[in-house]
Symmetry: C4
């Protein structure tokens, strides 16, 4: 099924990256700049992410010996130092996710550049070093994003949906490794019901959402693809949903030959294959 | 999974509060102030709540020996005295739910204070005494709500979603016990389809909705959490849906070690644990 | 579960009325007065109702020996004489459903009265006699509808949702028997996906929709209620969906003790019980 | 169940045409003329169609020995020559689907005629010859479409939903064979969740979507109908979804007596039946 199959490390059949977008209240604040403090229930709902879910995730992933990637807006890094410290000290990777969960393609190039500076500053000051990975909030990667990210020294992006395996984004300033995902692997379509976010959909039982995520995994496992979830601690980190995720991980492990990895590790693997001439990613030019 | 597990009474594993929001036609009247009397079918749909469903619930919960909490807008207390009398005489708790199902965070502070006065008056006059609990209509708890509720003598709120167990809301005037729930435990996402309310979603079979509620219960039972449903008599009190709820209750009982309680009892339990130094809830400040 | 259980004929446990709203293209024309002729695919979709589905229904219901109630807008009676002739000659009842599927509560009283005159004229001219039953298009029964229907000589309405069994609507001019239904028993929430109608929901597999209808039936059968479907030939009359309906009917029959009836027969039964002093329906006043 | 059953070739019970709409980024560009280049993630999502999915489909359908019909906008024919070459060289049929995925019924007659000229030019120049079939983008077949298509020499349309089997569209200039489908057989209602397209629905697990498609097939197989899917490579061509489609095809084959065909073959079969006096399609006049 794959035109250009990628060899995964140690003969594994597929790569699984459970990634989390730790939006907390940034997206709510951004969407409602003048009234977010008045949306107290929804605030409590999204702050559950860093306050309740992140410590839970840390404990369970430590027990499961999994190190994952968390995308965090700069403002959330600044506002929730305890959660960030927990994530970092447990060996997880932190990628950037805007400063205040801005939709990049609704900004000018200058505004987007400013967001990037500010969020990198937050990262460097609170975590140290520089971030390697980026996920555009709301998947709203703009026509300027690639060059801005290249110039800012990022190694990879995980916002696009153009393939089942890693590929290369080529811009005027250089290139990034693209680690693609799909709306199907986001938890939003199954779990979000909230008028302040403008979503009025039925909420899926965890078993129904897992049926989707498991089908995606089964296909990745069968055909050698990359499986990247886009989960939110305030949705998938709730008790019933996270319980189902632990069962999903157990199922994945029972299938065997799965490479559980952070996105920076997958990025390194891709670059290493290229350097060693073992595999060459397809290249997509932006703008195209 | 819980960072600060709460001991439930008698060694029970979790607490279950089946709570009901008896909106009747208040929300419809509030949303359509000039035309609600012309929406006759939707009126009949929502008035089914106090007229048909409440007597049914009273009979079945009496048989099941369950005493529950019902949140009722002040105007509904005044407009449906027979339903209220039934609720009170069967040993259920009545909490307040606005006067006309107003969304608090769309009111000024003065308007919200006026709503509170008017709904407490309705409560005191028709039921006697003062209400102990509050649920914000539409979960639209405002930045003023906490202080207004503290000043009005409330003991607890059940509108927020910031934890899996009780916590404490600290405002400038004092504190409330917060008994949190989640949109997932509301029946609206599964059963509401009505153009006058602006909802055009598929309606779930009762067994599908119960799959969600049961998954939430199983997680609460496994991890020691608080499970609070937010059900509406005009939705979940209909024959097929209520039949499924009775089966859910039987399932819960078959699991064992469940504390079925009213919210005022849970509030008392929390305060009692604090007083006796047995457990301390986490504290959330509002505004934060 | 029922406060005022109604005795059904011959000791049956419940009454089942499979009713159909034969909208054809009336609702589309009404919603898009200036462009409906340009919506050719959606036109073909809704005209499937009288052209393809109605003859199919006639054949199958004849084989199943079922006589049902069809609600038809006056304009559809005039525009699809062959379908109407089939319905009538097979012993089914025709009730009225507006003239052009107007939403009554968006009309003035005079406009609504005019719609009623025009649709009764269509009925009398094409079918003969006068209609006994009414269902408001879009369930948009207005505050004027009851008196207009009483004055026009109708015997019953089937647009409201205020009970699980028949009840009585009392207006200033007289009363109607109300034969209530529920959005849950409409096929729209499960099968409608069409941008010209403004619906963008997932479409249910027939087995999933039937799970809902069957749960409603099981509850009606267990507790003695009235089950009235609100189905559309252009949705539920399609092959796969109608196949599932035939299986549902077989299931209902296998349960036994079900009174399959037209709504006029149920209306007569209610009036007969009243006359004989055997049962008294609850009374709802409109305006209330 | 069918009033005018059509004989299928070789005694098969039904006809199955797996058709695909290869929109690629045409629809996105049309909907967002000034900002489509800034919607980079959604661009990557839809370009997955010609880039990743089409080669996959070619490989698998070759292995399955299936030749299908692909509807492609003229601009996509011009922009993705490699994908088009693959489709044509594998023996599949290419039908037209607008030039830039225009909604025909939102154009003037002259604009629509211009679109047709331009898309036929793209077809003739890149593929050679003239297209025989048309599917209106978004099912937005206009009141002018039939005559424009007849005059342009098309043989069939597959945009309407007026029957379960082929029928004849009669316009002022001549007639087309209509090969009808239904929104139920489109993959959009089950898989599309994307804010740039304005869709915020839950995404179905492949097994749930297949439950719908299989129910439609079972009905077609039982009653002798025509089953035409409307799938999009960027949705149904993704790994997990396409894997489920391969299983569906295996299921269909296991049922036996299925005629898998391209739409041009079905069109020829219909005309052949007519010529030989073996069967006569029903005729629908447009405008009606």
């Amino acid at each position: 099924m794959l035109a250009n199959p990628i060899p995964w490390p140690d003969g594994n059949r597929c790569a699984v990256a459970l990634t989390w977008d730790v939006d907390a209240d940034s997206g709510l604040n951004y969407a409602h700049p003048n009234s977010a403090d008045n949306l107290v229930a929804t605030q409590s709902f999204v702050r559950y992410g860093p306050s309740i879910a992140v410590p839970r995730l840390m404990e369970i992933f430590r027990r499961l010996e999994l190190r994952l990637t968390f995308f965090v807006p700069g403002w959330v890094i600044e506002s929730y130092p305890a959660a960030i410290e927990l994530i970092v000290s447990n060996g997880h990777e932190v990628g950037l996710h805007g400063y205040m969960h801005e939709r990049s393609n609704q900004l000018t190039r200058d505004e987007e550049a400013g967001v990037l500076v500010r969020s990198i500053e937050a990262y460097s000051k609170r975590i140290g070093g520089r971030p390697r990975g980026w996920r555009a909030p709301g998947f709203a990667f703009s026509k300027h994003s690639l060059d801005l990210l290249v110039n800012a020294g990022f190694d990879y992006d995980s916002s696009l949906m153009g393939d089942d395996i890693p590929y290369s984004l080529q811009g005027t300033s250089g290139q990034l490794v693209e680690l693609p995902t799909d709306w199907t692997l986001d938890d939003w379509p199954y779990y979000m019901h909230n008028r302040d976010f403008g979503y009025t959909m039925p909420i899926s039982a965890p078993a129904r959402a897992m049926e989707v995520f498991r089908a995606e995994f089964d296909a990745a496992h069968t055909y050698g693809a990359l499986w990247i979830s886009v989960w939110h601690p305030f949705l998938s980190g709730r008790l019933s949903k996270f319980h189902a995720i632990v069962e999903l991980i157990e199922y994945m492990r029972s299938r065997g030959d799965v490479w559980f990895a952070r996105l920076d590790e997958i990025c390194d693997h891709v670059r290493n294959l290229e350097t060693r001439g073992k595999w060459r990613p397809s290249v997509v030019r932006i703008p195209s």
